[in-house]
Amino acid sequence: MTKLTRRSMLGAMGAAAAASAFSAIPAWAADRSIRHFWWGNPERDKRTFAVIDVFQKANPAIEVSGETIGWGDYWTKMATQTAGRNMADLVQMDYRFLFEYVRRGALLPLDEHIGKSLMIADFDQGPLEGGKVDGKLYALNIGSNSQVMVHNTRVFQEAGIDADLINWTWDDFAKACETITAKTNGAVKGSDDLSLMIETFESWVRQNGREFYDADGKVTATVDDVASYWQFWADLREKGAVRDADKTVILDPPIAESGIAVGDTAMSHYWSNQLVGIQAVAKDKIGAAMVPHKAGGKPGQFIKPSMFMSLSRDAKDTDAAMAYMNAWVNDPETTAILGLERGIPCSPKVRAALAPNLTEVEKMSVDYFEAIQSRVGPLPLPAPKGAGEVRDAFMRVGTDVVLGNAQAADAATAFIEEAQSIVERAQ
């Protein structure tokens, strides 16, 4: 018969809590053991487990266990483990969560290990900066990336798009969308509708000379920024030059369902380390373009650490953990396996060793990275608490605009008000 409400729900929660308590006890005990926890995808997991095997062979006395889960569930599990004082020794960290975890005292600084067990003296110093909080290094950059407009090179060629894809403007972009849609009779739309993509919108705000959040974590993006952004896409939507509304409102679709992979749009916004993964599911050869610029505007795009590795407060065997972390960024065999999947490594030596063996799409992403260096702005400050919720609100309010239930200007006012109150409440 039908189960009763609180009883079954709480029962399940209790059982889950009990199960997670047991998982804290390792099934087998080596002399020394470390746990590594990362968010992944099938390709990344394959490479990471291979790396663990390599480390294991070189250090038979240390037992490494890997734990992986998708991005969406990663932060839930991480918060639960942090609350239970049961974090993995080494955790994959993201720029937007770094400050939050450091402030909560969940991560240990790495400075005392630099030069002893962590050899990073010859690394590019710029990309390492992103891992510092209050002058101390809490997170080691394990790859850099940047925004990218992925495009279908075959469709671009057939439609005769000859814009300079590094220096182009939003006008060029809009024209390209219309041309592609017209040339293919609407079979391929010019671009995904990026109305709900707050990452693209952040570039838009920076091009207008502001950051989304200021140094105190207040929302500094304006109603005009939001309204003009949503209006830009509304105009393209009206011309039929971007993907259909009912596909746009499906949030965070897997790469395999994106317009580029399915083949019904010619462009979309991604992060550059995802190029390898997208090419794997796309039928045509993909190319990399910059997020269009605002004519006469400031640089919007930026280069950021795509992922970090951090040492957690719950790490027991720090020496073993640091040996593993050091191997990740220096050991030739390990770095060869990892390749560019997590982003561009900061070690010039590693990059040089990888260069001769790059695949076509990897080479393209390295070239793209070189080409954008002079056109990007500084790394924005880490987002304040509540930024994840603001992202949700952006998609939710934007959906009403995409579906034609609200005007861009009205929705923009509503969004900015909501964003401000979310950030205020989260502090």
Partner: protein, 294 residues
């Protein structure tokens, strides 16, 4: 006292597994959540006592809370009657004394067992996607299918109606309990079918209807997995699928406001309790039991 235990011992033995589960696993978290509902707790730092702040915020400032109530109440108001009517209809069809009735019972019950599962919700999403099976079938008849995903409520209601299995089984048992001679007498008097239904079936089935109504209402209030899957866990598009439990889950496990989520859970408990109490209170006016003397 001894006689009480002697008489009720078997009942307590059967209740034992549930009692153990309740005291060991459920009671602690229930009390903890009551305490947490008066705190601000992010799962990492220690809970900070904030008194009634969570409840005040909920009722005075939280627009999404009201939106979630709106979505959930609308769903309860529409889905519960729809499912009960469907269940009663099928139960009456099966009550005709088919020889393979056991098979049919199993077939019709199956969706209820699977209905709450994730697999069905995912299947449902595929069926009702813009280029999904439903629209393809409609297209072969020349009908331009609606976009079910941008208006996903429709598919949720169909999903709700389709999970009529367990109330149907209970209705069927109830129908079986109605003495046949009443219908025979009515036949002899020439009572039309519809009057037989309103004068014999419905009144005698009232206790069963009441039972199903209470359970299905509780069930509908806590609808979670189907809405969670169809909306990718967010209540999207534009909060049209923001069921109360989905909102609660997001507050707890996405934004780590455990204190606030606990307060939401207690408010839901009170809402369900009020509805159940109202049902019980009004039941004496429309539910009559056969062994009652009046």
């Amino acid at each position: 006292m001894r006689r009480f235990f002697a008489r009720n011992a078997p009942a307590y033995v059967f209740l034992l597994p549930w009692l153990i589960g309740f005291f060991l696993l459920a009671l602690g978290p229930i009390l903890a959540s009551l305490y947490l509902s008066f705190t601000r707790y992010d799962m990492v730092n220690v809970p900070e006592w904030v008194g009634l702040d969570n409840y005040v915020y909920m009722f005075t400032r939280d627009r999404r809370f009201w939106k979630a109530l709106d979505v959930t109440f609308t769903y309860v108001a529409l889905a519960v009657p729809a499912r009960l009517i469907m269940a009663l209809g099928v139960a009456m069809l099966l009550d005709k004394g088919l020889r393979t009735i056991g098979l049919y019972r199993a077939i019709f019950y199956l969706p209820s067992l699977l209905g709450a599962s994730i697999a069905i919700a995912i299947l449902w999403r595929q069926l009702f996607a813009a280029d999904g099976v439903v629209n393809q079938i409609m297209a072969t008849f020349g009908i331009q299918g609606a976009s079910w995903i941008t208006n996903p409520n429709t598919s949720l209601y169909i999903l709700a109606m389709w999970q009529f299995g367990s109330p149907m089984l209970i209705f069927l048992a109830g129908l079986r309990g109605i003495p046949r001679d009443l219908y025979e007498a009515a036949e002899i008097d020439g009572t039309p079918r519809w009057r037989q239904f309103t004068r014999i079936t419905l009144p005698l089935l009232a206790p069963v209807i009441f039972f199903n109504l209470v359970l299905q209402t509780i069930d509908a209030f806590k609808t979670f997995s189907s809405a969670f899957i169809i909306s990718n866990g967010t209540g999207a598009p534009a909060d049209s699928l923001l069921f109360y439990t989905v909102y609660l889950f997001n507050e707890a496990f996405k934004f780590f406001r455990m204190g606030y989520a606990s307060a939401l859970a207690w408010v839901l408990l009170i809402i369900i309790a009020v509805f159940t109490a109202v049902a019980f209170f009004t039941s004496k006016y429309w539910v009559h039991y056969e062994n009652e003397r009046d």
